[in-house]
Symmetry: C2
Subunit: 409 residues, 2 copies
């Protein structure tokens, strides 16, 4: 079997994957107050007008605007004060011609009034009367019924990631529970006879497990629930058993394979045996990250990631994180990014996407992206980087001083 | 007392605040595997070289490079195979002149070898010998001892927000526990006689509490631990008692005040009574958000935020989130941002920072920032926005089609 038999560009690979993946979303009902950063799984429309009564936006006097027309400091409009609107209550006042009612910010506009003169633009005459020193227009300094949102207006779409202001907006309407997507379970397997758990002593020739932990954290960040299966010994029976268990227990499976050709061949065979249609993509035209396997096995996406940590993270961002968002039914959101000037020329081969790790530096008030040199099998290449710059498929490279988009880690 | 007596620009207000605030950071020791998005509270240096032994980056034959000089397909270098390096073990092999050892990706380079010939560039002669078809240089296809990181090299600084790759990098070194900052407790008080809890029926003249919930979510996002004190009735004794309790129990206190002048005056007096030096800033040259109070009372920052939700969020981002990061000892990170074209002219007064809520739209492959019109007392202005555009202090406004930075919510 040739080592790579089904090489795709990342966008083509993603489309090919989507043709074979039908996410089975699970939902749950939770308190809105606890729904920060969860993905909404229902369409919400407003059950009411907001506000439900006309409110003043200032401290002042609720009036009929017509009574103030032509008012000025030299010729003020005389108004008799019918009373004060109490906060948090409906006012029983009814404002007649030539009358005004004291109202506070947020207070209800009483019947008969259509606008509010700011207190700064009035002058007290006596206990029962004021002078308006400026005219107001109809509706001035008033939030109308339904001006914030109206009954039946769409609020938020299914797939929306709930932010602080969304929680506030739902609370304003008394929507104290919401239906959200349950985080998909993502099973993570590491392989390699040289890999040992980080809390155990290492002997010469051994290395500590990195990917189980960095991948689990990436799954959490993407909105999934990571389940780690530890380090699987490098033999067919052990890997088949562990992969079958992870496949049965999870919505998505990620294998971080040993990096030698024999490990990779074993991963291919084990993944292919997990179900239909099996392996869709074997090899991505991206650097780092070429030795990637993408499969759907009896409805469960299975990703075979390159063993080295930089490649694993690049491919996670390109393929696994979007698959987790698809499982959540989440709308696409712009990635965290900053614009920066490139600190040196970067070469690339056309027909391949490159991801170059960079660190950000401020120089003379501009942000610069400084490529972090280092092999993709070095974890500290990533630790020393703030983000990555993409060199597109059709580009031969990027010039020093060019403005580039840095996708932050 | 004049309503605003101490108006600052946001940068000046922040500097003035910092002169009076000395964060008292608390730390705790936790598992590195559970430290995602926590703030590191120690300087870490590498306790060892990584890797601790030279490793192969390919599948191939470990050799002494000198034995391959001049090798080609027509004139290969003949090498006798001394054995195979087992994965995860130190090899007892010692490679002499004219010898090679089979090694897998990640395997240890045996003594006497200084480079690896890729298996693709060799040809098997018999069980005990191969031909190298290309020369290799000293160090080729080898990760040297300490090439990833060396003993004593700085790893991460105190104040660093731990990302997935940082967790991987620490695990690689066997650093399975870290000291991190304890999230500061942030007490949140809402006031206003018209405000009722969202899960209760509202009568005419009443509105549901928004800010307790959106502020709590903002505190969580900023890395703090929100503690809500509910809705405080609008009288001096109740507000004084609640503020004193929150001041005693928290690292930072946030009051979301009723929006009328009398409420604001009451907030000023209650905050001023909480301790020394008291109110530092009363009024910010920013729209929305002018009626902001910034105080430090016996070491505890106290923020009086405007009652309307848009202003409260703008000021939270400008002042409270940075105060939480200061309490965590966290390094500044670039804000989430995207570049977009402005969809219409925006006017502004010089001498004032403006924050305009925008939603993002894709048009012809470009991202546009479309201002969301709506009064700053409307929560759905925020719900319909993806982010905000800043119009700087010294600017008279921004032109349609200009490229702007949108800070994402």
């Amino acid at each position: 079997m040739p080592e790579f038999f089904n090489v795709y560009s990342p966008p083509d690979a993603w489309r090919h994957f989507l043709r074979h993946y039908s996410p089975q979303m699970r939902t749950e009902r939770i308190l809105t107050a606890a729904a920060l950063d969860r993905v909404l799984a229902e369409e919400l429309v407003s059950p009411q007008d907001l506000p439900e009564f006309p409110r003043s936006t200032v401290d002042g006097y609720a009036v009929s605007a017509a009574d103030t027309y032509g008012a000025s400091s030299s010729l003020p409009a005389f108004l008799s004060v019918a009373g004060e609107v109490p906060m948090g209550q409906a006012s029983s006042l009814e404002i007649g011609v030539g009358e005004a009612a004291l109202v506070h910010t947020g207070g209800m506009i009483p019947a008969g009034a259509d606008s509010v003169v700011m207190v700064e633009n009035t002058q007290r005459v006596d206990d029962a009367s004021i002078e308006a020193l400026r005219p107001v227009a109809v509706g001035e300094n008033v939030i109308q019924v339904g001006e914030d949102i109206r009954t039946g207006d769409p609020i938020l779409k299914s797939g929306h990631l709930l932010r602080p202001q969304d929680i506030g907006g739902l609370m304003a309407l008394g929507i104290t529970q919401v239906t959200v997507a349950v985080p998909p379970r993502v099973g993570i397997l590491s392989t390699g006879d040289e890999v040992v758990p980080p809390d155990q002593p290492v002997a010469p020739g051994q290395v500590r497990d990195i990917n189980s932990y960095s991948l689990a954290a990436l799954v959490t960040r993407a909105g999934g629930a990571p389940i780690t299966y530890g380090i699987i010994p490098d033999n067919r029976a052990a890997l088949e058993a562990a992969a079958a268990q992870a496949h049965a227990e999870n919505d998505i499976v990620v294998l971080s394979a040993g990096s030698s050709v024999s490990y990779r061949d074993l991963s291919v065979e084990v993944i292919a045996g997990l179900g239909k249609p099996g392996i869709l993509v074997h090899g991505l035209s991206v650097r780092p990250g070429k030795p990637t396997i993408i499969a759907v096995c009896d409805g469960v996406p299975v990703f075979g990631l390159p063993g080295n940590p930089v490649s694993a993270m690049v491919i996670f961002d390109l393929m696994v994180a979007p698959a987790i968002r698809a499982a959540l039914g989440a709308q696409a959101r712009p990635k965290q990014q900053v614009q920066a000037r490139l600190a040196r020329n970067l070469a690339s081969a056309a027909g391949r996407e490159d991801y170059v790790q960079v660190r950000l530096e401020e120089r003379d008030g501009e942000t610069w992206a400084v490529p972090v040199l280092g092999k993709s099998n070095l974890i500290y290449t990533l630790v020393h980087a703030d983000g990555a710059v993409q060199i597109p498929l059709d580009s031969g490279g990027l010039r020093e001083r060019a403005w580039v988009t840095v996708y932050l880690h």
